[in-house]
């Protein structure tokens, strides 16, 4: 969740055409009977028994029986529960502002009666932006949750929780209370540790099917455009403030030379270009085997709060690190804005909960179902030695696929800087050298005249239809090319030095 002003500006730049394939349909789910008018969805999952679980800003948790179409109130009194996991039909794990909490119904009357702190060993300055996002649980019984930084939109409260750290206070988004801007790990033996650093608004953790942990981040200071990170222990992902809590880091993080920070940071595996792909990415959800959602198992879905969109992400390992592409997937009305939380229903359809909390977004619950017909979509985009191999879900029209002018590639990068966001830097068209279409017409191999590491490569495929004449539902795809298959040059850091100073002082 981010500041409103740049959000509005970014709307003007939106030019991508994309839409939901006719193979998917969207149904509205009636709102839970809360006595507090608000039905923004902050947490959403399913119980083992198949009931839908929904957390509302009011601190209420409702269950919905999808067969009888009835709601029941399970719990109340939570503080902005921005994520929920179901351990059993009567036991939930919730991230609420002050805690990671186990919510249980002990006497079996269907209502929660015990709220146990798993951990509250992290700080709260009381700044509104210090959200506590999305609990996830790994195979070994460790929990992870994500702590938002405080916003320059306000200060801190008169009493703060946890040791106040002045070094984390300066800057736009701040981390004056312990571990704000970190992904936290609560280990199976009860320890609470900062697991990774450098997050700004990490609204959405999720595992892929191999057990890799991912989190999104929202554009802003130190985040040139919104991102997806592969979360690994001890790493720093770019937003400076939380370095105040990193052992061995000396001084005030925001005052450190940008180059020094750039050298420390790990790159995103996917960048969502601002204005065209996503402005406020949310939860990460793997397309699991039990999902009934088309030929995309193993890929990731990422919600986008700002516009009615769910993005699909495909990753590959290159030179030991994950990187890959993103493409709009479920896109445009009747999907609502504010897609914040997602989960697979027992029937394999996707449930989406929408929220806004005064940012651009929406409210409500929707179900996205696949009708079993293969959509005409990009299935995958992989790096080759000279370009990219793009695979389609259906054979493509060979003649159209072979036309170079239908593949207008562009490349650019976002600067790493303290100032808010970043323009697309050095944006350059990249010419296609050669196109090869596989005999079955599902793979298009594209050689570019130049392939530049550490640059985002995007293409808006034009005029392409399938062999059977179907239009490509989503034609805009962006590959975050960090590493090449061989001979990757060192990270050029892409910092703009000192240019933030003027804007920062004006504030």
């Amino acid at each position: 969740m981010r500041h409103i002003i740049p959000l509005l500006i970014s709307f003007l730049g939106t030019t991508v055409h994309a839409s939901t394939s006719p193979s998917y349909s969207i149904t509205d789910i009636p709102a839970p009977p809360t006595k507090f008018k608000n039905i923004q969805v902050d947490g959403l999952t399913f119980l083992p028994n198949g009931k839908l679980v929904v957390c509302l800003p009011s601190g209420e948790i409702f269950f919905r029986d999808l067969q009888s179409e009835t709601w029941e109130l399970f719990a109340q009194g939570l503080h902005n529960p921005l994520g929920v996991l179901a351990l059993s039909n009567s036991e939930l794990i919730v991230t609420q502002r002050p805690e990671l909490t186990r919510v249980r119904d002990l006497d079996g009357d269907g209502k929660a009666d015990d709220f146990e702190v798993l951990t509250d060993q992290f700080g709260m300055s009381g700044n509104y932006h210090e959200f506590n996002f999305t609990p996830v649980l790994d195979q070994k019984g460790n929990y992870f949750f994500a702590l938002g930084t405080g916003s320059s939109g306000d200060g801190v409260r008169t009493i703060t929780r946890g040791v106040f750290n002045e070094r984390g206070r300066p800057g736009r988004m701040h981390s004056s209370a312990p571990y704000r801007g970190c992904i936290m790990k609560f280990t199976s033996d009860g320890k609470t540790i900062p697991y990774s650093y450098g997050h700004r608004t990490p609204n959405g953790l999720g595992f892929d099917l191999k057990g890799n942990l991912f989190v999104t981040d929202n554009q802003g200071d130190w985040v040139g455009s919104s991102k997806l990170f592969h979360v690994q222990k001890g790493r720093f992902y770019g937003h400076a403030a939380s370095l105040a809590w990193k052992e061995g880091f000396v001084g005030t993080p925001v005052d450190a030379p940008t180059e020094k920070l750039a050298k420390m940071r790990s790159r995103a595996c996917v960048v969502f270009p601002h204005g065209t792909m996503a402005n406020s990415p949310t939860e990460v959800l793997a397309i699991s085997e039990k999902a009934n959602f088309g030929p995309f198992a193993g890929q990731l879905l990422v919600g986008e709060m700002n516009q009615p969109r769910i993005v699909r992400v495909m990753l590959e390992e290159v030179d030991g690190e994950l990187q890959g592409a993103c493409v709009p997937f479920i896109d445009g009305s009747p999907l609502g804005r504010g897609c914040n939380r997602m989960a697979w229903a027992p029937d394999g359809s996707l449930f989406v909960g929408q929220t806004k909390h005064t940012w651009a977004g929406g409210q409500g619950i929707q179900q996205v179902s696949w009708n079993g017909k293969t959509p005409f979509e990009i299935q995958n985009m992989e790096l080759t030695s000279k370009g990219f191999k793009i695979t389609f879900t259906q054979p493509v029209d060979q003649a159209l696929a072979k036309k170079k002018e239908n593949w207008p590639f562009n490349r650019y990068f976002f600067e790493y800087r303290r100032a808010y966001g970043s323009p697309r830097s050095d944006e350059t068209p990249v010419e296609v050298e050669k196109i090869t279409v596989s005999p079955d017409a599902t793979e298009v191999d594209i050689e570019l005249t130049e392939l530049l590491a550490w640059h985002i490569h995007e293409v808006k495929i034009e005029n392409l239809i399938s062999k059977s004449g179907e239009e490509l539902s989503n034609n805009y795809i962006v590959y975050t090319l960090n590493r090449l298959l061989a001979n990757t040059p060192p990270d050029p850091l892409q910092v703009k030095l000192a240019q933030f100073n003027t804007s920062e002082k004006k504030k």
Partner: protein
């Protein structure tokens, strides 16, 4: 406007105003004050000092509603006002009946007095103005919407004044079942509870320091809280009453709740790692308390926290006769405890075990520590 007309209207103004304007300010003030404070007059609700009553009646002293809106005040007095309103940033949801006891002249004196009492700096109101309004204004009691459409605020005052959409909390009057909210509360760490108990006793319990912060009963439960939940989370909950019990700590001395509600501080007054005066002391234990969670016992919250190797539970309910709050503690394993309470003018404190000293210290023997209750009741006269 042509010059003639302009002069004419100036003349008109003075002409109509002559009656009250002819009098000295002191005279108007004295007559108005007497009428304001008379039986059945404004004083019954808005109080002699114009401060109103927390939670139920808005203040007239320094009220933005008085500013630049003498016509508005006349309309309120003549026709009444009912509905949710914001006055200087605080919410009220009540009704004021039309003030029918006063003729035009008397009401002019009263409103002139209100306009200039307690630091208000508005002009004198004339009998003629009241008379015209009485003729002209529609008969119905004003809703905030209909009133403000006719008499809108100056832009500067718009943010803190006007109407609001009532939420569930505004509609609660009598508490039948305990209500447990977690939200930002003034005078507590950000990890706070706001709880409403049957009998309309309300308290703030701070999970950041494992302590009861304060209890109040007048003025209703917290307001503005749903905005905190549904918006970005900036607003701190408000309540209108004055606590009858407020636990003492050396870290907070004398700040008002308004001051403690501030969110735009550069740094805190203190952080919870510096918290002191934990009310429960056990010999040899230096640890800070650690919050573990709560359980609902017949819907009432039973908080649990550890202090070193000890486990403490604290169940907070209303007394059987709803007259006050009962805190039932258990300590395990048992040990002698020194419990420090904060005696106040507004409350009486007692315990079913041990001996209460006048300074608020209570000594609990080990054998009683497994279960003891502390009772905190508001004193009648203050509530």
């Amino acid at each position: 406007m042509p010059l003639i007309l302009c002069l004419f209207s100036v003349f008109l103004f003075f002409g109509f105003s002559s009656f009250l304007l002819g009098e000295s300010k002191e005279n108007i003030h004295l007559k108005g004050k007497a009428l304001y404070n008379g039986a059945g007059s404004c004083v019954a609700c808005h109080m002699p000092d114009g401060q109103g009553q927390p939670g139920s009646v808005p203040p007239l002293a320094n009220s933005d509603w008085i500013k630049g809106g003498t016509d508005r005040s006349i309309a309120i007095a003549l026709r009444g006002l009912a509905g949710p309103i914001r006055v200087n940033g605080k919410h009220y949801y009540s009704a004021m009946p039309p003030q029918l006891l006063f003729d035009n002249q008397k009401l002019a004196y009263i409103l002139s007095y209100v306009n200039q009492a307690w630091g208000n700096q508005e002009r004198v109101v004339t009998e003629r103005e009241v008379a015209e309004a009485r003729e002209r204004l529609p008969q119905a009691v004003y809703t905030p919407q209909s009133l403000l459409k006719k008499f809108p605020f100056d832009k500067k005052l718009n943010r803190k004044n006007g109407t609001f959409t009532p939420t569930y909390d505004d509609l609660i009057t009598e508490i039948i079942q305990p209500i447990i909210y977690r939200t930002f509360m003034p005078g507590a760490s950000p990890a706070a509870f706001a709880v409403a108990l049957p009998g309309n006793h309300y308290f703030c319990w701070d999970a950041g320091e494992c302590r009861l912060r304060y209890i109040w009963t007048k003025g209703g439960f917290i307001r503005n809280n749903q905005v905190h939940w549904a918006s970005n989370g900036k607003p701190v909950a408000q309540f209108n009453g004055t606590p009858y019990y407020r636990a003492r700590t050396t870290k907070l001395l004398g700040q008002t709740f308004d001051q403690l509600s501030k969110t735009n501080n550069k740094q805190p007054i203190y952080d919870t790692s510096q918290a002191d005066n934990f009310p429960i002391t056990i010999k040899g234990i230096e640890d800070k308390p650690s919050y573990l969670g709560y359980r609902l016992i017949n819907q009432y919250p039973q908080f649990r926290y550890s202090l070193g190797k000890y486990l403490i539970t604290e169940l907070i309910r209303t007394n059987k006769d709803l007259s006050g709050v009962q805190r039932t503690f258990s300590l395990s394993p048992p040990a002698p405890i020194k419990f420090t309470l904060t005696p106040t003018e507004e409350s009486s404190i007692s315990c079913d075990q041990g001996k209460m000293n006048p300074d608020g210290t209570l000594l609990i023997k080990a054998e009683d520590s497994a279960r003891f209750s502390i009772f905190i009741n508001p004193k009648k006269e203050s509530n």
